[in-house]
Symmetry: C2
DNA sequence: GCGAATATTTTGCCACACGAAATATCTTAC
DNA sequence: GTAAGATATTTCGTGTGGCAAAATATTCGC
């Protein structure tokens, strides 16, 4: 019969795909797991918690004019949470609050000199860690991985 | 001169590598970020927190004979933390504590029938989500990504 | 100038996360 | 056999992060 020729292995292909996705799903879980462990060590070394580091990165990326609302939005947190995290960064002397003169409701959060130094330390540490993690991959593979992951990120929303 | 031919661009190669690593490092950070946001939605849908889900996964992987110490060790947490998480899973009816008869100090944590059902739901949801995330990648790319990430995981410790 | 909108903080509540102390049990040394 | 130490788990105290709802302060619209 002709259908035998046209459809070679209908379940086979779908199953193959499912198997690949499943394998990747497990890899992601393992990666999340290992990543968590590694992140813990990283955070201990730099002396900040992850949410605190994320706020510092945000400030580093948009130097100078970041409001509390911006932070809450960019880090996907409620304003109340952002207040708490920034409070602790202020206590640590890495950041300071400055009220806007024009609109006295808004509060800018700025990196202090100590904060800048800390941020550089963090970035150096992060770079070092990624280097260590990728030492088994050659340049071509590195580029490939980056490309594939970037396409994954695009798929997120 | 011969050295001109042998060493084409000494700094260029190292710089190229550094650039690749840096790009990947940024991609990782973005991935962690987006992943966090996505995880939040995932957890809301399944009605558990991430630490709770991790414990459920652990129980699913080592069916039947998992002690509190095992959980603490496998999830990289202190015993005190594990106690709290398991407490809440017990409250939710997904898990139960059983004392060892021989050594009455040790406590086994076992998945209940409701817990098994929940675990299946979680896995289905996770599979669905990975499928959605990877829909832009073909089979070959999927395999490639999995292979590269696996080699990354190996490099962790 | 008065009510609605906006930006931030405060409050109250819960989940983690840890070390240290407490509890219960087992093992070893004598 | 029992006292001393080791082991497994929980309890306690403290701190961070997470949110919604209320409170506060300020600006905007009309």
């Amino acid at each position: 019969m002709e259908t035998d020729k046209v459809v070679v292995s209908p379940e086979g292909e779908a199953a193959r795909r499912t198997r690949f996705v499943q394998a990747l799903s497990d890899t992601f879980r393992a990666l999340m797991w290992q990543g968590n462990k590694q992140t813990t060590g990283f955070m201990e070394r730099i002396g900040l918690t992850l949410p605190q580091a994320v706020v510092m990165w945000t400030l580093g990326a948009y130097k100078g004019t970041v409001t509390m609302s911006d932070i809450a939005q960019m880090t996907h947190q409620s304003g109340a949470t952002a207040t708490g995290i920034v409070d602790r960064l202020v206590d640590a002397g890495l950041v300071e609050r400055v009220r806007d003169i024009g609109d006295r409701r808004v509060v800018y959060v700025q990196i202090t000199a100590a904060g800048s130094t800390k941020l550089e330390e963090i970035e150096a540490e992060r770079q070092k860690q990624t280097e260590q993690m990728t030492e088994r991959l050659n340049d071509k593979e590195l580029e490939q991985l980056n490309s594939l992951l970037t396409r994954l990120i695009v798929s997120f929303d």
